[in-house]
Amino acid sequence: MRFSADVHLHSRYSRATSKDLDLERLFLGAKLKGIQVVGTGDAMHPRWLDEIEEKLEPAESGLYSLKPEYRRIIEGQVPASCAAPVRFLLSVEISNIYKRRERVRKVHNCVFLPDFAAARRLQARLERIGNIASDGRPILGLDSRDLLELVLDSSPQSYLIPAHIWTPWFSALGSKSGFDSIEECYGDLSGQIFALETGLSSDPPMNWRLSRLDPYALVSNSDAHSPRNLGREATLYDTELSFDAIRRALADPLDPGLAGTIEFFPEEGKYHFDGHRLCKARLSPEETARRKGLCPVCGAAVTIGVLSRVEELADRPAGERGGRARPFTRLVPLAEIAASSLGLSGSETKSVGGICRALVESLGSELSVLIESSLDDIARVAGERIAEGIGRVRAGEVEIAPGYDGEYGVVRLFPEAESAESRGQLALF
C-alpha cells in the first residue's frame, strides 16, 4: 500500500516543544496532515516511554496503534475525510556532542526501534552514560559511531539515520561541527548507515550533487516541535505497512518500497543561505565567496549555510540525478499558503485556521489537499485566491527570500499583489 511517514519529531518532554505534544494529539495531527506512520519521538525518555507503553498497543509488526480507550478521547475531532489509519513507530533523536581528532563534533542522530524490548535495552545502556530524563532529545558525550554500535546491539532490526545532515551546528556533514563524509563520522560501522535525512534546508537535487551519497536512501521528516508542523516534510512508501518493510525499503537499494519524499522549498529552511542573523546579513554562496566568508556588517566569519556546504563537497554539476533518486514534491504548508494568499503576515490566525479546517473537512487531509485535490474543488471551499496559491506552489511559482543563520526563509506567493499593496501604503502616507 502507499503511505506517508513522518518519524522524526518530538514530544512535550523535549526542550522548546509544545506542551500539547501527547500521543492523542500526535494521532490527531497525523490524521489531519495525512501521515499514516508517525514517530513517537523521544522514545528514550523514561516517562514518555512509559506513556507510550501505556497508550499504544501492537498493530502490524513493529508498528503500534493508539488503544481504543485513548482513541475515543480524540476521535470526535477527526473529520470523516481523514479516515486513513495512523500507526506509531518507536523513534528518538539523540544529540551526540564529542571530540574527534581535536575538534568538537555535534551530530544529531535519529534512532528507530522495532519493539519495546529493544527500546528498553537501549535506554538501559544510555542512562548509564548520560542524562536521558531531562530532555526528550538526550545530550550524550558519545561518539556517533559508538551510539550506532549500541543501537545495533539493542536489536538486529534497530537502525540509525543521521538527522538533517546539512545543518551547520548539529549534523553529520554540517559546516560547523560535522564531518566531510558519512564514512568519517561512523567509521567502521558506516556500512550500517543506509539512509540520510536531508533536512528542511536541502532537497534531493542538492544531495544528488555528491556522488558519495549515491548509496544512501534520502528521507524527509518534519522534526516537528508542535503538532502544527507535523508532516511539513515526509517520506512516501509503497510497500507493506510494517517496521520491517519500511526498513527494507531504505536498506535495500533494489527494494521498490521507497516511493519518494515531500519536501520544503529548501530556500525556506533556516540554514539555506549564509550570513549573520543579528547583522541581518543574508549572503548567497557566491556573495560569501566574493567576501571571503566575512560578514559585510560586522566583518566576522559568517555562518556557512547548507547551499554553500553542499557546493563545497559537491562533485557533480547541478541538474544530474543521484544513485537512488526518487520522485519528490515540494510543498508549502497549507496555513502558510492561506496566509500568503490573503496577504496576512502570520499563519497562526483564526481565519487561516478556519480555511485550513474547512479544506481538510471537505476534501481530505492536508497532504491530499496540497497534492491531489483539484483546484476547482479547492476554489469551491476556500475561494479562487487560495486555489491560485496552491496552484502556484504546485507549479513551483514561488518567490522565497532564503533562510540563513537560524532565520526561516520567507515565502511570497503573490509578489505582484504585495508590491501593489506596499505601493498603496506608500501612497496613503
Partner: protein
C-alpha cells in the same frame, strides 16, 4: 651519538638517564613528570639482568594503568621488565606468592561491615571514626600508640582472616625482615616511586628497607603538591630524601608545559604567600596568557547555574536545535567538549547543587568517588558467595546464604573449582538461578567488568583480590564524554582544558575544621589551580543557607588583581557576551 630520548628536554633527559644510586626529581605542575618517569623506567629497564624487573610504584590503580600504557609505547616488552603497581598491589602480590597464612582483603567498607556484625554496640559514626583512627595510626607507622581502638579493630579483622590495606604493607615488611628481603631486591633492583610527596611513614619504611638491602631508589614529586597529610602522608619525607638515602642526587624539572602564563603566575603567588621559600621554580614555556575568571555568585544555587551556563557556552550551545552565530558568539566559545571540563569542590557537600543544575540542563556529567566495585549491590553478594567457593567462609555468608538453592550452587561450584578456569567458573556461577537471584541489583556493565577481570585472573583468589582493589569501570564510561565533578583531592595528577573551582569562600577553602592544616589547604588549592591547560573559573557564593554572609577565600587575595577577570552576577540579557577584564591601574 643521537640522544637516547630526543623527546625529552635537557633537564628531563638528565633525570631520566641519571646513572647514580638514588635520585629525587622535583617536578612542578605540568613539567612532564609522568613523561619523564616513564622514560626513567625505560632507561632502567635496559640495565636489568635476566629475571629482574623495575618496580614502579604509583599513587593509584589508575595511575599504574596509565603508566603501563605509556611504557607500552616506549618499551614493547615492558611487561617482562617492569612491574607498575601501587604499594598495595605490589605487597599483595608478594604476600600471595609467599607461604604465609591465607587472608582476605578488607577495604574500609568491608571493615565497617565486619565491625557491625562483631561489635554490635558501636554506632555507624563511631565505627567509621574507629576505622579512620586505626588506619591512620598504621599509616603513620605508630601502631604502638594505637591503644584499645586499634586492638579492637585489628583483632576483629584478624580473627576473621582479613587484612586491611595498611596491613598489606605491614605484613610485607615483616615478611621481608623475616628473610625474603634479599630475594626481593634481587628481583627488583630498581624502585621508582611516583608522587613521593604523598608517601606515608609506613610506605617510607618499606622504601628504606629495600634501599638498605641494595635497591636503587628514584622518587619523583612536588612538595608543593602534598595534600594527603590528613591520611598520614608527610611532605617532610620528600624534603629529607637526601638524608634518608645518602649520596642521593636531587634534580628539578623546570619547564612548565601545561599551564598558561597567568595561571602559573597566580598559582605561584598563592604558594609564595604561604612561604616565600616555596615559590615554584618554573620556566614558562607557553606564551599565551590563559584566562582566570573569579565569579561572585549570589547563592550556591546561582553558583551552580553559573557553572552550567558557562559549560553550555564553552561547548557552544547544547540544549537548542537551532542556533545562530549571535547565540554562540564568535570567541573561543564552542571549542570545548564535555570531557574537556572538570568542576572541583573542596567537600562533597558542595556537589548536590551542582548535580541538580547539571541534571536540569541535561548536560552529561560524572562524579568520581563512587562505591568500589566490590560494594556494588549484587556484585558484593556474588563475591561473598565466591569467597565461600574459594574456601574463605564469612559471617555474612552464613547469614545470607541459608537458602537451599544457594547452598547447593556453592557446593557445586566448590566441586568444579579445581577443574575450571576463573572465567568458566564465573560463567557457571552466573548461570545458576540461586546465585543469579542474589545479584538482582547488578548492572550488565558491572557483570561485564567482572568477566573482563576474570579473563586476567590466574586463580579464583587473585580474581577476588583484584576486585577488592578495583573501582567500577565501564568501557562505555570511558568512551562517552562527560563533565567531571570531583573533589580537589581527586583532581590530583589530572589535567583539563577548563577547570571550575567552586565554593571558594573563606572557611570552605581553606576548610576550617579541627585538625585542618592551612598550609595543606593552600597546597590543595595550588594543585587545583595548576590543573587547567587553558582557563580557570573560580567561583564563590556570597550567601549560603538562609543567613550566612560569606567572604571570598583569603587565599584569593594573594593573587595579583591584574591577572583576574572579575565577574559579578549574571549580565543582563542581550548584553555583550564577553567579560571585561579589570586591570588594576
Amino acid at each position: 651519538m643521537a640522544a637516547p630520548f630526543p623527546e625529552l628536554n635537557a633537564l628531563q633527559l638528565a633525570a631520566a638517564t641519571y646513572a647514580g644510586r638514588h635520585l629525587l626529581i622535583q617536578a612542578g605542575p605540568g613539567t612532564g613528570k609522568t613523561h619523564t618517569l616513564a622514560h626513567r623506567i625505560a632507561f632502567l629497564a635496559e640495565r636489568l639482568d635476566a629475571g629482574q624487573r623495575v618496580l614502579a610504584v604509583t599513587f593509584t590503580v589508575q595511575a599504574a594503568a596509565e603508566m603501563r600504557g605509556r611504557l607500552e609505547r616506549l618499551l614493547p616488552s615492558f611487561e617482562r621488565s617492569v612491574k607498575a603497581s601501587t604499594f598495595h598491589g605490589f605487597c599483595l602480590e608478594l604476600l600471595r606468592s609467599g607461604a604465609g597464612e591465607p587472608f582476605k582483603i578488607a577495604p574500609p567498607e568491608t571493615a565497617a561491615g565486619l565491625l557491625a556484625r562483631r561489635v554490635p554496640g558501636l554506632g555507624d559514626r563511631d565505627r567509621r571514626a574507629l576505622i579512620a583512627r586505626s588506619t591512620l595510626q598504621k599509616s603513620l607507622d605508630r601502631r604502638d600508640d594505637g591503644g584499645d581502638d586499634l586492638a579492637l579493630y585489628d583483632g576483629t579483622l584478624r580473627s576473621l582472616g582479613y587484612l586491611d590495606y595498611e596491613d598489606l604493607i605491614i605484613e610485607t615488611i615483616a615478611s621481608l625482615e623475616g628473610g625474603a628481603l634479599d630475594a626481593c631486591v634481587r628481583s627488583f633492583p630498581f624502585l621508582c616511586v611516583d608522587e613521593y610527596q604523598d608517601i606515608n611513614p609506613l610506605q617510607h619504611r618499606l622504601v628504606k628497607l629495600l634501599a638498605r638491602a641494595g635497591a636503587r631508589v628514584t622518587a619523583i614529586g612536588d612538595a608543593n603538591q602534598a595534600i594527603y597529610g590528613f591520611r598520614g602522608s608527610d611532605a617532610a619525607i620528600f624534603r629529607s630524601f637526601t638524608e634518608d638515602f645518602p649520596g642521593a642526587e636531587r634534580l628539578s624539572l623546570r619547564e612548565s608545559y601545561r599551564t598558561p602564563v597567568r595561571l602559573v603566575a597566580a598559582s605561584s603567588q598563592l604558594i609564595a604567600a604561604g612561604d616565600a621559600r616555596r615559590l615554584p621554580d618554573l620556566v614558562l614555556v607557553r606564551r599565551d596568557a590563559g584566562r582566570l575568571v573569579v565569579h561572585r555568585a549570589a547563592s550556591e544555587a546561582a553558583e551552580a547555574e553559573y557553572v552550567v551556563h558557562q559549560v553550555e557556552r564553552l561547548v557552544g550551545g547544547t540544549s537548542l536545535y537551532s542556533l545562530d552565530s549571535g547565540r554562540v558568539g564568535t570567541t573561543a566559545a564552542g571549542a570545548r567538549s564535555f570531557g574537556d571540563i572538570a568542576v572541583l569542590y573542596r567537600v562533597n557537600g558542595r556537589r548536590r547543587r551542582l548535580e541538580e543544575a547539571f541534571r536540569r540542563s541535561g548536560i552529561p556529567y560524572r562524579t568520581s568517588g563512587d562505591l568500589p566495585l566490590s560494594r556494588l549491590p549484587g556484585v558484593h553478594d556474588l563475591l561473598v558467595a565466591l569467597d565461600l567457593v574459594a574456601g574463605r567462609p564469612s559471617d555474612e555468608a552464613d547469614e545470607r546464604f541459608s537458602g537451599e538453592e544457594v547452598r547447593r550452587g556453592i557446593e557445586a561450584l566448590s566441586r568444579i573449582r579445581g577443574a575450571r578456569g576463573v572465567p568458566a567458573l564465573l560463567d557457571e556461577a552466573l548461570g545458576m538461578p540461586g546465585i543469579r537471584a542474589l545479584m538482582g541489583g547488578a548492572g550488565e556493565e558491572d557483570i561485564e567488568s567482572l568477566r573482563r577481570r576474570a579473563l586476567l585472573a590466574p586463580t579464583l583468589e587473585s580474581f577476588l583480590d583484584d576486585v577488592a582493589l578495583s573501582r567500577p569501570e565501564d568501557p562505555l564510561d570511558r568512551r562517552s564524554e562527560r563533565v567531571a565533578l570531583m573533589t580537589l583531592h581527586a583532581a590530583k595528577g589530572l589535567e583539563f582544558p577548563t577547570i571550575f573551582i567552586v565554593g571558594c569562600e573563606e572557611g570552605s577553602i581553606p576548610l576550617r575544621t579541627s585538625g585542618s592544616d592551612e598550609e595543606e589547604e593552600r597546597r590543595l588549592l595550588y594543585v587545583a589551580m595548576t590543573r587547567p591547560r587553558e582557563e580557570l573559573f573560580i567561583t564563590w557564593a556570597a550567601h549560603r543557607g538562609a543567613v550566612s554572609e560569606e567572604l571570598p577565600s583569603s587565599f584569593l587575595s594573594a593573587i595579583d588583581d591584574s591577572l583576574v577577570e572579575h565577574e559579578a552576577a549574571e549580565r543582563k540579557r542581550g548584553g555583550k557576551d564577553r567579560q571585561l577584564p579589570l586591570f588594576d591601574a
